[in-house]
Symmetry: C2
Subunit: 467 residues, 2 copies
């Protein structure tokens, strides 16, 4: 008999953790719904073909593959007998594995859109909040099973989508009461910069170097750019670009003068301007008080972004970005449906959990479990308690009866350990008098309530910690 | 480029399906919470050791195993170098797989309880609603990835738990407005019957035969019992037992006369009596109108049940049981923590989904997505619409702005396809007059509303079908 353990990099979530995670999940989902996004769920398993080759060579190695089983071999034998498949000599990798666990939510979404393209109402706005699996080396804050949380609009090139997604970020973090900065940039501007530095093919080099600015500083970035073959003049231009500072409006004004001759750049600037302006007007009128800043040092590694890019930073804590996304030109080309543009954002829910914990921002009522524990003081008393509980539950009050008649001590301890704020004492005297004694365990206050009055008693107290 | 597809036996869930499934999930979870149960989530992957050998030989074959990857091999090499592990010659199965996908929720729960036993508040009441994976041959209604939904109390022998679980069943199905019969029996009575038929070891033979009564009828059951070596007298006794009919009270009275000399049987009868009586009293007072029936033909295949057993049947549809459970003596013995008794129930959520669909019992507002679509009638109009939407969203109204300025037709179609009940028309004239025209797409009624009046407009209409 082995001592039980969990696979490395995986976690059990106890009640308190599930409740806090659900607080984050439900907040985000509610906002997605307010913006007309609809839920989608895809299976944990995808065909290996669907996933392989989509995440680069390194990514392929990190995909968890599932071993074929007896039925798969039977099916294979059937196909061979029926002539659909040739008998192969030697072992192919298909003999071992044909399925794998989802590595992210983007590729399964692309697969879904490609499979159902003709049935979808376009623009198609979906959100998805599901676990993904990666065979990464586990370390602090990095797990082999973790949740991703994405919202995408596909089938539309309209900037209304970018505006809405920026606003979703602002609304979610306002509801979570977490101060953030929503950083925004545009790949078209970076591509204009590359053009001015001698060609669009320089874009990746420049983006990679810029991405490191936070960590290594401008001097090292300049060295790296030089090593990548950029001239002093070009490096000077990039430095000027990165040093553009001031308000959003000042940045936009400066950018316009730099990229006067580059239509791509001008387009990127106009897009930024549109999002910034509209967000501010709406925010002043009635929307969430978002802090959207143009960040010209924002590059985002993923190559497939082509327009607006987003990143969200929590203010007041040292942690990487807690959200990011951007516009892409082609979601489903890999699956045979070309030219489906879109834009999406994602929330780093594990990091958001860590930040809310660090800043102590989970609301007290997130722990709401059982409100009231009935002490078990005998068979007849317990029978009455059960009746009263059914009434309370019908009114939405979560309650429990201690499972056996034992000393008060033990029953108190159960309430305490489970964080139950009220206990109900119903002994033989109370039973006769048709009353019940309710004790608030925090304040120590106790009150007599009649059986019929119980249903109107308020069990809302201050904060309590759940198990 | 391959045409994308899904692995056999797996499903995508579109928005309407997710919403309907969540309606079931949320109803069940809310009731669990009302009864003091707390959520638990375990990882999809477990160590292969944790799962293997727990589900019988057939079960073992149906476990989806995960292929080891490069990191696992590195870790192994490290251990060998450090002297923790010997270099093995030849290939062992551990070289291929050490992890597998969860096959049910019971074994991961047992593993969790064993790992955390000393930290748990006993009795420990947990619920769990997560997918499980089985490499079964896919067929109608049988999937390779499907959800289970369990509630268990461990660390208590009190019948209060059985009473509460029966009441949870009654409450959930009342909330779902699904008429059901909650069938209840007790393994102690079956074991007493076995004892009267010549020995406790006959219990499994009898249970297996009884389990088939529904399908094959009493004559065939008698044949089977004879084939299993029971004498005519014994078979006669079993038939008498199975033919006990009448109300719960009549059944109990008869049972008491049959098993006068068997203390185990008497105990089982008392337990049944307790649950039936208490449920009826509470139900008459204020609880849900449950229909709990003693069903002496109920046996439930699983060997580990030792006391009360439950099964739930939907009335008015031809479908197997939509719930079941029972009491067991030892949950965690397999993981080194013996003598942890408990009792649990589970909900067959996929079947419940099918029944609610067949009986058309999903409430209309389950489809609630976007309430209002703003037509996009130009840049300035769209800008104003965005502002107004932010106000509405702050008030909890889900709304959208059509992404581009196109013909009315196309915008109407979007609202229609997405099941959006109201559209808002805000053209240049309306913009100037600071009004908006709201049209109810079901009734065709349209009304003028001022910008400031919009936030108080009621967007609750009749039922609409979502995408």
């Amino acid at each position: 008999m082995s001592k039980p353990s969990l696979p490395q990099g995986t976690r059990d979530f106890d009640a308190a953790t599930v409740r806090k995670r659900n607080y984050i999940f439900n907040t985000i989902k509610a906002v997605f719904e307010l913006y007309g996004f609809q839920p989608l769920e895809t299976p944990a398993m995808e065909n290996l073909d669907t996933l392989m080759g989509k995440y680069g060579e390194e990514g392929d190695k990190l995909i968890f593959k599932i071993l074929n089983n007896g039925l798969d071999n039977e099916a294979k034998a059937d196909k061979i007998r029926a002539g659909f498949e040739k008998v192969m000599t030697g072992r192919s990798s298909k003999d071992i594995t044909e399925r794998a666990l989802r590595y992210d939510l983007t590729i399964p979404f692309a697969r879904y859109v490609a499979m159902n393209y003709n049935q979808l109402t376009l623009p198609f706005k979906r959100y998805q909040l599901q676990p993904v699996w990666r065979a990464d080396r586990p370390q602090k804050g990095r797990y082999r099973e973790f949740y991703q949380c994405d919202a995408d609009v596909v089938g539309s090139r309209s900037l209304v989508n970018e505006l809405e997604l920026a606003s979703i970020y602002a609304t979610v973090f306002q509801k979570l009461e977490l101060p953030v900065e929503i950083r925004i940039n545009n790949r078209k501007i970076l591509s204009a910069l590359a053009a001015q530095c001698g060609g669009a093919e320089k874009m990746i080099d420049i983006a990679i170097a810029i991405d490191k600015l936070d960590k290594i500083g401008i001097e090292k970035v300049k060295e790296e750019l030089a090593a990548r073959g950029l001239s002093n003049d070009q490096i000077h231009l990039i430095q000027q670009f990165l040093e553009i500072s001031g308000t959003n409006e000042e940045k936009l004004a400066l950018l316009k003068t730099i990229f006067t001759d580059n239509s791509n750049g001008q387009e990127g600037i106009q897009e930024l301007e549109y999002i910034i302006e509209r967000s501010q007007i709406a925010s002043e009128a009635s929307g969430p008080k978002s802090q959207i800043s143009i960040d010209l040092t924002l590059a985002r590694g993923l190559n497939y972004y082509t327009g607006t890019i987003f990143e969200v930073k929590a203010l007041g804590v040292q942690i990487g970005s807690i959200g990011g996304g951007g516009r892409y030109d082609d979601l489903t080309g890999l699956f045979g449906v070309p030219n489906v543009p879109g834009v999406g954002i994602s929330f780093g829910v594990d990091r958001i959990y860590d930040v809310l914990t660090e800043l102590n921002l989970f609301p007290a009522d997130v722990y709401s479990g059982t409100r009231l524990l009935f002490f078990n003081l005998g068979a007849a008393e317990a029978a009455k308690a059960f009746e009263l509980m059914q009434e309370l539950r019908a009114g939405g009050i979560a309650c429990e009866l201690f499972h056996e008649t034992v000393k008060f001590d033990k029953q108190f301890k159960y309430a305490e350990k489970k964080g139950i704020p009220y206990v109900a004492i119903l002994g033989s005297q109370e039973l006769e008098a048709e009353i019940i004694v309710i004790k608030n365990l925090q304040s120590g206050v106790q009150e007599q309530v009649t059986f019929t009055g119980l249903r109107n008693y308020s069990f809302d107290s201050g904060s309590v910690n759940g198990q």
